[in-house]
C-alpha cells in the first residue's frame, strides 16, 4: 500500500483570513492526504523550516495578497537551498495567468485560480507525487 501523501498548507503574507487555506486543507484531507496545517502569516523561512521538519512531499500556499511573485520564488529558493528540491511547491490565489506562467518557468508547480476545482488540485498533487516517488525508486 502507498503511504499517505504529506502536504503542508499555509497562508503566508499579512492579509486577512485563512478560510481559503482551510478549505483547501480539508479537501486534501478528504482526498486521503495528511495535511499539516501551518496557519496564517507564516514567513517563507518558517514555511520551509516546517516543511523540512515534517518531511512533506508537497507545500501548498494560499496567497491572496498579490505578493505571489515574491513569495513563491522565495519559498522555492529556500527549499532548494535546504536540499529539498524534490518537494512540490503549488498553491493558489488570485493570480493572473501571465504570472502563473512566469512562476511555472521558475520551478514553481501548477497554481490554481479561485475558479479551479479542489478535485483538480488533489489529482494534480497525486500525479506529481507518484511521478516523484517512482523517479526516486529508480534512482
Amino acid at each position: 500500500m502507498q503511504p499517505p501523501i504529506r502536504v503542508l498548507v499555509a497562508k503566508p503574507g499579512l492579509d486577512g483570513h485563512d478560510r481559503g487555506a482551510k478549505v483547501v486543507a480539508a479537501a486534501l484531507r478528504d482526498a486521503g492526504m495528511e495535511v499539516v496545517y501551518g496557519g496564517l502569516h507564516a514567513t517563507p523561512e518558517a514555511i520551509v523550516e516546517m516543511a523540512l521538519q515534517e518531511d512533506v512531499e508537497v507545500v501548498g500556499l494560499s496567497i491572496l495578497s498579490g505578493a505571489h511573485m515574491t513569495l513563491f520564488p522565495k519559498v522555492r529558493r529556500l527549499l532548494d537551498e535546504a536540499g529539498a528540491d524534490d518537494v512540490l511547491l503549488t498553491g493558489g490565489g488570485i493570480i493572473p495567468k501571465a504570472d502563473m506562467d512566469a512562476l511555472a518557468r521558475s520551478g514553481v508547480g501548477r497554481l490554481f485560480g479561485p475558479g479551479a476545482s479542489l478535485d483538480e488540485l488533489a489529482t494534480y498533487i497525486r500525479g506529481e507525487v507518484e511521478r516523484r516517488r517512482s523517479a526516486a525508486r529508480s534512482a
Partner: protein, 325 residues
C-alpha cells in the same frame, strides 16, 4: 539484520544534530520501512537520555498552546533542546488527516532548538500513532533534552501515552467538569500530574477542587499527584509547572521508578510489535481472511465462537505443516 551504508550515514547525521536527517528517519519509521528497524538496532543502545513527557486531555483543553508555552519557557530558562510530537486522528473514511496542532506553536517555528513533528494516527486507537515511540527515539538520538508528546484530544480511556512516556500530564480546562465524570475509569487514574489550564477564565478554582475530590475518592493510600494551575495564554503558573515536571522526574530517577517504568514501556512496545506481526501472520500469510470468507459463505454453524475456533485450528495446522517442511 545488517545495517547498510545508507542507514549508517543517516543515523550518523541525526546523531550529530542534523534535523533534516531526523525528519527523513522519522518518515522511514512512519512508513514501517524495513530500513528503520535495521537502523534502530544500530542506535537503540544509545537511547534513554531524553525525558519523555506525555501531554493528554480532552479536545480544546489547550494542550498545543501549553506545549508551546512550556517550550518557550524552557528555551529561555535553561536553553534546553526540545522535541515535540503532535498527534491528530486520521479519518477512518478517507485515511487522510488534518494535523492542526502546529498552528498553536507558530512561535517555535524559527527556533532550531525546537523540533516539531505532526503525526496522524493512521488507524491506531489509544491517542497515539503506531510509530510515535519510534519518532520519540529519533528525537532522543538527535540529542533533544526533553520530548513532549501531545496525544489526540481524548475522551475517556485512551491511555497509550502512559506506556510511551516517562510522565503523563493530563490537561483539563474549566468547563470540562463533565469530562472528569467521563474519565473516572481511565486517564484520571493514570496521570502523574494534573494541569488546570485557562486559569484566566472563571471557574478554574472550582475545577481544581473537583479534581482533588475525584482523586481523594479513588487513590486510596496512593500518593496524590500534584494539581497545577496555569494559563498557557498569559503564562501564569508556567515556571511552577515546568519546575514540578522536572522535580517529579528527578525524584523518580532517584528512587528507581523511572527505570522501572521505562522497562515496562519497552516490554509493551515489544508486545505490540509481536501482536502486529502475529496478526499479519494469521490473517494475511496463513490466509485466515480467505478462510473466514469461505466458511461464512458455506453452510453450517454461524456461531462466532465455533467459527473462531475453526479458524484457529486451521491456523495451527498450517503453522505445524510449515514447521515440518
Amino acid at each position: 539484520m545488517s545495517v547498510t551504508v545508507e542507514e549508517e550515514m543517516l543515523v550518523d547525521r541525526v546523531r550529530s544534530g542534523d534535523a533534516r536527517a531526523a525528519a527523513r528517519l522519522m518518515t522511514w519509521a512512519e512508513r514501517a520501512d524495513a530500513r528503520f528497524a535495521e537502523a534502530h538496532a544500530g542506535f537503540a543502545a544509545g537511547l534513554g537520555h531524553a525525558r519523555r513527557l506525555g501531554i493528554t486531555g480532552p479536545p480544546g483543553a489547550g494542550k498545543s498552546t501549553l506545549v508551546e508555552a512550556l517550550c518557550k519557557h524552557w528555551r529561555t530558562s535553561d536553553a534546553r533542546t526540545l522535541g515535540v510530537l503532535a498527534v491528530d486522528p486520521s479519518s477512518p473514511f478517507s485515511g487522510g488527516a488534518l494535523l492542526g496542532d502546529r498552528v498553536r506553536m507558530s512561535a517555535l517555528s524559527l527556533d532550531p532548538g525546537v523540533f516539531v513533528r505532526s503525526m496522524a494516527t493512521r488507524g491506531a486507537f489509544g491517542g497515539l500513532a503506531r510509530a510515535t515511540d519510534d519518532l520519540a527515539d529519533v528525537l532522543d538520538l538527535l540529542g533533544r533534552h526533553t520530548i513532549l508528546v501531545e496525544t489526540v484530544g481524548v475522551g475517556q480511556s485512551e491511555v497509550d501515552v502512559v506506556r510511551s512516556t516517562d510522565l503523563t500530564v493530563l490537561v483539563l480546562h474549566p468547563g470540562a467538569g463533565d469530562t472528569i465524570q467521563a474519565m473516572k475509569a481511565g486517564l484520571m487514574e493514570a496521570a502523574d500530574l494534573y494541569v488546570v489550564n485557562k486559569s484566566d477564565l472563571p471557574d478554574a478554582e472550582r475545577l481544581v477542587h473537583e479534581i482533588a475530590d475525584a482523586l481523594d475518592l479513588r487513590r486510596g493510600d496512593r500518593e496524590r499527584p500534584p494539581v497545577v494551575t496555569v494559563s498557557a495564554v498569559t503564562g501564569a503558573g508556567l515556571p511552577q509547572l515546568a519546575q514540578t515536571l522536572d522535580r517529579l522526574l528527578d525524584v523518580r530517577t532517584a528512587d528507581g521508578r523511572l527505570a522501572r517504568r521505562r522497562t515496562e514501556n519497552l516490554a509493551s512496545r515489544v508486545r505490540r510489535l509481536v501482536d502486529a506481526e502475529l496478526r499479519r501472520e494469521a490473517w494475511e500469510r496463513a490466509g485466515l481472511e480467505g478462510e473466514l470468507v469461505r466458511r461464512m459463505a458455506g453452510p453450517g454453524t454461524l456461531s462466532v465462537y465455533a467459527l473462531a475456533a475453526g479458524l484457529l485450528a486451521a491456523f495451527r495446522a498450517r503453522a505445524a505443516e510449515r514447521g515440518d517442511a
